[in-house]
């Protein structure tokens, strides 16, 4: 048991590094702009309009930010539901990434709400419209954020030595882990459903009844990609050994999900008779950028040797992440044409700076958390068992 208590440990080190300071400055700028937003309203800082009531604060901060947050979802699914114990070392960092992704997505919704002081109405059943996709997404994201807090709580409890509570929590943690897999499946697909109901306003390249499926697939894909990307970056920047055996398997899973996505995309376009739209249809250029990145990212993973090379993993996960980001951006903003127009929208500098600030906050918090809390798995444990990572992980799961 004692050795397992060290399965995760803080990596330590100075907090005030250059990346941390840069991120902090960006966060301060965003906070200043947000003060303006709450002082003078949305119109004072954003380019939102009646034609584009949703700008990047929804499309990027919420829709794409929550996809980044799917790391915890896919890792929990692999590790606990499919009982693949070897992935355990990656669960806690993934859950933390999810916590930031979802927590900040929820905060971004509050920023974007016109009448934010009514936000708690979401939770009051007598205001609910139970057929609303938006209600489903809102409630589900809010609940999932709470679930993530509970899922991540052991790291806090370990750090501050609250053993009794930790042991009690461990007994009921499975409920939250199950919820943590169920909830994202629901709301990530519902994010796609939200754009099904805009109908013809969305370009035929993206508008399909399968939008929920594609959103779920991109959520899973981006979840895997962010885990791989983060792991490669952490090993590079914190000079830690690569988690190669696990990354190899994750890369294989990414390849499968990305291939299913691309194949389904093509079949869907053919079945709907919109295949020709990719040659000159509305926003066809962005379709190509998205598709080339997606196919490029998965093609890199086809040679098995590449799945063990950190550069190939980095490039591939970066491309797949960008493809997923673009897919979601295409559905929510680029492929969207408001009915009575012509409307124009491009985010204002202040809008962009708020989004940058949100992501900077995520990075700053990541840096603080991995240095101060037991998030990343302990290196000596890993290197000692590098020959048999599976046995280590299985033990760690019960720790």
């Amino acid at each position: 048991m004692a050795s397992h208590a060290h399965a995760h440990q803080p990596i330590g080190g100075r907090l005030l590094t250059l990346p941390f300071l840069v991120c902090s400055v960006l966060v301060v700028i965003a906070a200043f702009i947000l003060a303006q937003r709450y002082g003078h309203g949305l119109g004072a800082v954003t380019n939102l309009s009646d034609g584009y009531p949703w700008g990047i604060w929804v499309a990027i901060d919420v829709v794409i930010g929550s996809a980044f947050g799917c790391a915890g979802y896919v890792m929990a699914m692999l590790c606990y539901i499919l009982n693949k114990g070897e992935y355990h070392p990656m669960v806690r960092p993934a859950v933390m990434a999810s916590l930031f992704g979802y927590g900040l997505a929820g905060a971004a919704v509050l920023i974007d709400l016109g009448r934010y002081w009514h936000f708690y109405h979401l939770m009051l059943p007598w205001y609910a419209q139970p057929n609303s996709v938006m209600l489903e997404v809102g409630l589900c994201v809010a609940t999932y954020t709470l679930v993530l807090v509970v899922e991540f709580a052991p790291a806090f409890l370990e750090r501050f030595g609250i053993e009794g509570l930790r042991r009690k929590l461990n007994k009921v943690l499975w409920v939250f882990i199950a919820l943590g897999v169920l909830l994202p499946t629901m709301h990530q697909s519902s994010l796609g459903t939200m754009m099904v109901i805009v109908g013809h306003k969305l370009s035929p390249l993206w508008q399909t009844q399968l939008l929920p499926v594609f959103f779920l697939l991109t959520a899973v894909l981006m979840g895997f990609a962010i885990v791989v990307w983060e792991s490669v970056m952490a090993s590079l920047n914190f000079r830690r050994p690569m988690e190669t055996p696990v990354l190899k398997k994750l890369a294989g899973l990414m390849l499968v999900v990305a291939s299913v996505f691309v194949a389904l995309r093509v079949v869907d376009l053919l079945v709907r008779g919109q295949f020709g739209q990719m040659f000159g249809g509305p926003q066809a250029g962005w379709f190509w950028v998205e598709s080339v990145l997606m196919v490029g990212g998965l093609a890199l993973l086809i040679p098995k040797a590449n799945r063990g090379r950190s550069r190939a993993l980095f490039l591939s996960s970066s491309m797949l992440l960008t493809a997923g980001i673009l897919y979601r951006l295409n559905v929510y903003l680029i492929g969207f044409t408001p009915a009575v127009g012509p409307w124009h929208y491009f985010p204002s500098v202040k809008e962009i700076m708020v989004t940058v600030g949100v992501f900077a906050l995520e990075i700053a918090l990541y840096l603080v958390f991995v240095k101060k809390l037991p998030v990343l798995h302990a290196i000596e444990d890993h290197s000692a068992n590098s020959g048999a990572p599976t046995s280590n992980a299985v033990q760690a799961k019960h720790g």
Partner: protein, 387 residues
Amino acid sequence: MPDGHVDLDAEHIGDLDEYEGALAGMSRREFLTYCTGVAATLGLSPAFGVKIANAAVAAPRPTVIWLSGQACTGCTETLLRTNHPTLETLILDTISLDYNETLMTGSGHQAENWKQQAMKANWGKYLMVTDGAVPTKDGGVYCKVAGKTFKEAVLECAKGAAAVISIGSCASWGGWPSTGVNPTGAVGLNEIIKDKPVVTIPGCPPNPYNFLSLVLHFVAFGKLPELDDKMRPKFAYGRLIHENCERRPHFDAGRFALEFGDTGHRQGYCLYKLGCKGPETYANCPSIGFNDVGQGTWPVGTGHPCFGCTEKGVGFTKSIHELASLKSVSPPNSYPAVATDKGEGISAGAAAVVAGIAGAAVGAGAVISSRLGKQDEKSESSSTPAE
């Protein structure tokens, strides 16, 4: 009759009318409701509904003789679209439609006998209705029924008519048969019948309720409603289409559809610039619509400019997309653009920030990937020999 069969085949027109029979399955309440509706159409107080009801069921029902000339039968067809009352209620219960070439069951000598008999029996009392223009060139040979030219038929019938109604643009002034070079010399009925007033219900086809209201007015009061200078009932043709058009606010605001399917057209803007003749055409189309299916069911409502079918000198004369000559307000010479850009587009600053972020991401990606490349080489070379 030219062939002398009139008296042989002539049948007596029986007394088919009774109070009960006249209601034809309608309850008394339904019938009174309908008559009150007719009174409202005529712009009368609801109290007149009872009077109309009494007149409609009073036996015998007024005889109507309907003659068709150079026309497309659209005017008869339009009556089939009525449902308050339906055509059968009208022709079986309200009036006695004794002759109509499209609707009658009989044919040949029988039909012709019936017409003669009905005229004789109701001489001086019957209503004469015509649709279609009267050809005058070459002795009127271009339209003949039962060996008689249409001109002879209308002159004969008009002599004993209590009132003469010409329904449709063709019967009103010649309509489409008179367009262009007018090869048959088609004219309206009022140029043939000079001794009696010819009430006109122009339109192509006219709204059937204008016709029904006119007939019921005659039945109820025994006289014709107030008419304008072109002999059209003022209750239906007293106002310009432009005055009651649901798109009028767009005209006043200078918002026009400039071509079919453009942004303005899709948004229901004014069709004046597509050649709508609403500003010079008198009719109640926007107010009562067609086919009883609710608001907006008339040409302009469906997105096509009015072509002025009720107006002599406009319908079938001006080309469809020719600008109307305005009888009331003229629009200004310049307008705001139909499609005004809305929302904020890209600014230089935003473009710079996005480009900066993208550039930084690509740059950082390149640096990281080169560092990772070196790391890969190191680990691959070190992993070949044993640790």
